[in-house]
Symmetry: C2
């Protein structure tokens, strides 16, 4: 006999099989599904609604920080990929290649025809094609800074795909900027990294460690890559957004040149930064539970669903009409409310569909609040309220006069989700001080379903074959050199005392975070 | 000696060469430019800002009419194109074909590798791939109607391209719906056609003739196509948006089946409808003048630019500081205002750049209002206002107390632009009653730069080789069977009296509009 299991809306549950649970949450919430195109997904309305909310918030911040949106071609001529050696190496092995421009009917079969002289690549990222435009637009220091953002689909022909986390086609925003000086470009890189951190923490309620990537994890062609790393509930790391300082590398290969204030010809300093639909995967793995998706209210496409309690087979039509009218009135009153200092209007849906089990459908979709309303509730002057951050069967009677409490409840849910995720993150960061500790930490605890969280240790940035081999054996990677563990004093000197790199034994003040990662 | 020419910001002017003028307006406003990818354009921030405003308005209406956004794969497997014979014929001759999944370095040259078993087509439209999902989602009449919209890039390998009007890649929204009954699907087709009409007339200030397409102009695979046709300043027609009733054609080829209320298995009735970045081309050719772009205020990315009048080489820094501060104050006050019944917040930019000729840059960009503000204006307690719908050198002094007039002025500009376009359209629609009239009308007046406008005549819908040949010679096409000239009485009977088709001589009550078209 096994212990009695609590019934959950999602099977398997997290502790049984985290990756199957993840897929079940997506299916249960009707967020996305596989398509007939290898590695590409269909993003269904509920999943796309989350992306739209993300876009809205982020787009506003991108514009407030002085960037303008534009749109560049989907295709990139093959020859462009040969201009930046590191860049091509990073992307050539997985890209969709367009070779023909029509289909011809040959004996009833359609075959490619109209062969192109030069093949095109579907953009895996747009540094090269946007850089080309920059080289046309920038002539003088007066044309700088140039600060552009693009919302687009990109394609990387990944071998192993996983919904939202790694798909052949995904949606993202990619910022591209050009500057007069290194300092200004470095500041831009940092500003956008901090924007990502704020967005993740304040809206998605996902706490992150921000920091610099080590050389082996740097974007192909970049001088420095900065990242925000989040911890999922299985304690693995998710790279949630990156901001790259590209130095003059791309400017040199694409001739982004300008006449300086001193009338000399200089190459511009460029940056790029992006986040993608991958964030939706991060959202799922940070907050969801064994009943399905849990959404921070500030990023939910809708905040409240009202479920009218109607008579069986419409046996009492008058009462049903009264209930539906009351639902409509309540919806209107709730939609006049807003939260998060008036920046978010409360969005309310009435689900009067005939489907059975619709309460559980909405639990699985992670809508923050569910309201049940029937004849008896109206008599008692209120409704039954269920919160998605509480057990699914928990209900509370709220009288109609008290609906002003709703914005507070949403605010509180947002904060609770963040605090819970933050506590989890902190509990699963371990500082260690030797190579043996690192090995025993990951070898003993690092099973598929329960990796050992984040480990912080003194380490220099250099990578060699031996270290590479060891990390591979432990199935971990350097996630970043986190700011929080590498603070500097007012003079810019490291606050960390000197110690020895656990790998090389050389003296260093740098601390690096290691973890298994998506 | 030729007559003295008025200096204009755009050359050539409209009457010299309309199509070169069109291109110059785009260049002058920095809206878009050609890219290194054949037939694809780069949409620059000012052009993209217009598209964003369009998206915002239209997306809200699409949602208000009960549709949800989703996202489907960019690529379509080749075999899908073989499922609908008419559809494939319409698109196979111009499409980008993906055949490989990587590039390999062979002796220093990158060559396509990783050949696909089945090729993919970059979507030219998404009926097939969205229809596939519909077939997975629809099981019962309870799952209907299904009302989905997608904002996406699509690709058609056009032979002759023209910025915004016909480009290999373009941006659009495509609505796709499935219904239980023919009637409901037909109503949906009509609802969205009317949404397009309202959007074009109320926001873009472009008057349209809406109506049904004749069979030869119907979308490949559709039963009926409805269109909104606009008249450009060169009197040519622009198909600005279409709404298709697809009957059960796509449902049958993709197996979109459901169990009906009578428990029989039925095929769904589907629709699709779309508008694209082509609308930006229509906007340019409807309103712009020989000084460049003219934007209806309701669709302008920004409404007002403030141009501070500063001292030469900053010779009077104190005065300059005072001017810039006043500009900022004025910007803040103006941005508190809104127009169009409070639905549009006024957006104001201060351009304090050092560039010479920036007043004319903003004229060419078509920003609705320009404000010049210098030391003297401040002393006089106001600023100089220039309206884009008046001659570029016209200015009016407005005192600071009168800024409440600004929303009224914007509203008035919006109406004036629409009325002007409507008057032009009406003046260039001619009703004719014989084939000879049609011939002489277009042969005599139909030069490249001044086509003869829209012609309305009695004609049946049938097309035969002879008629096709004649239309080709006259360089015209049937644009649509316009509602406005084919009214029905309350019983649904045609109000037009019976007459003879000018082509076939057969009795008909149908009137068709013919024109040259983009």
């Amino acid at each position: 006999m096994t212990a009695k299991k609590v019934r959950t809306a999602i099977t398997p549950i997290r502790e049984e099989n985290f990756s199957e649970w993840y897929q079940s949450v997506i299916n249960g919430a009707e967020m996305a599904e596989n398509s007939v195109v290898r590695g590409c997904m269909v993003i269904r309305p509920w999943g796309f609604g989350i992306w739209e909310t993300m876009q809205k918030v982020l787009d506003e911040r991108i514009k407030k920080t002085g960037h303008e949106n534009a749109y560049f071609p989907l295709l990139i001529p093959k020859s462009f990929f040969q201009k930046e050696a590191d860049h091509i190496e990073g992307f050539a092995t997985e890209c969709a290649v367009v070779t023909h421009t029509k289909l011809e009917n040959q004996d009833g079969t359609l075959v490619p025809a109209g062969k192109l002289e030069e093949e095109y690549i579907i953009r895996p990222t747009s540094e090269m094609i946007i850089g080309k435009s920059f080289s046309d637009w920038v002539h003088s220091y007066r044309d700088l800074p140039l600060k552009i953002n693009q919302w687009a689909n990109v394609m990387r022909w990944e071998m192993r795909t996983r919904m939202f986390l790694r798909t052949s086609e995904f949606l993202w925003q990619e910022g591209h900027t050009a500057h007069e000086t290194e300092q200004e470009a470095r500041e831009e890189t940092e500003i956008m990294l901090q924007e990502y951190k704020k967005f993740l923490e304040n809206y998605l309620a996902i706490p992150v460690l921000e920091g610099e990537k080590t050389p082996e994890e740097t974007f192909p062609g970049a001088e420095n890559t900065y990242t925000v790393e989040a911890m999922m509930q299985d304690k693995k790391a998710l790279q949630a957004g990156t901001s790259h300082y590209l130095g003059q590398n791309f400017a040199k290969s694409l001739e982004i040149k300008f006449q300086s204030r001193n009338e000399t010809e200089e190459f511009a300093y460029t940056t790029s930064w992006g986040v993608s639909t991958r964030l939706i995967g991060g959202l799922i793995m940070t907050h969801s539970d064994d009943d399905g998706l849990v959404l921070p209210p500030k990023i939910a496409p809708q905040h409240i669903v009202i479920l009218p309690f109607l008579s069986r087979k419409n046996s009492n039509p008058d009462a049903d009409t009264a209930v539906l009218e009351k639902c409509k009135t309540l919806q209107n009153r709730l939609e006049e409310l807003s939260f998060s200092s008036d920046t978010i209007d409360i969005s309310v849906k009435i689900d009067s569909s005939e489907k059975s089990g619709k309460n559980w459908d909405w639990v699985r979709k992670g809508i923050p609040l569910r309201i049940a309303l029937g004849e008896r509730d109206i008599e008692k002057g209120g409704f039954m309220l269920s919160r998605r951050d509480r057990p699914a069967n928990e209900k509370e009677f709220v009288s109609f006069e008290d609906i002003e409490r709703i914005p507070e409840i949403l605010e509180e849910m947002q904060n609770t989700l963040f605090e819970k995720a933050q506590k989890f993150q902190k509990e699963n960061i371990t500082e260690i001080s030797s190579l043996d500790d690192l090995k025993s930490h990951f070898l003993e605890k690092n099973s598929e379903n329960s990796p050992a969280g984040f480990v912080i240790c003194y380490a220099d940035k250099e990578i060699n074959e031996e270290r590479e081999q060891l990390l591979k054996e432990l199935k971990i990677t350097a996630r970043c050199i986190p700011y929080a563990y590498n603070k500097k004093d007012e003079q810019g000197n490291p606050e960390n005392s000197e110690s020895k790199c656990i790998f090389s034994g050389k003296t260093t003040t740098t601390k690096i975070v290691y973890a298994r990662a998506y």
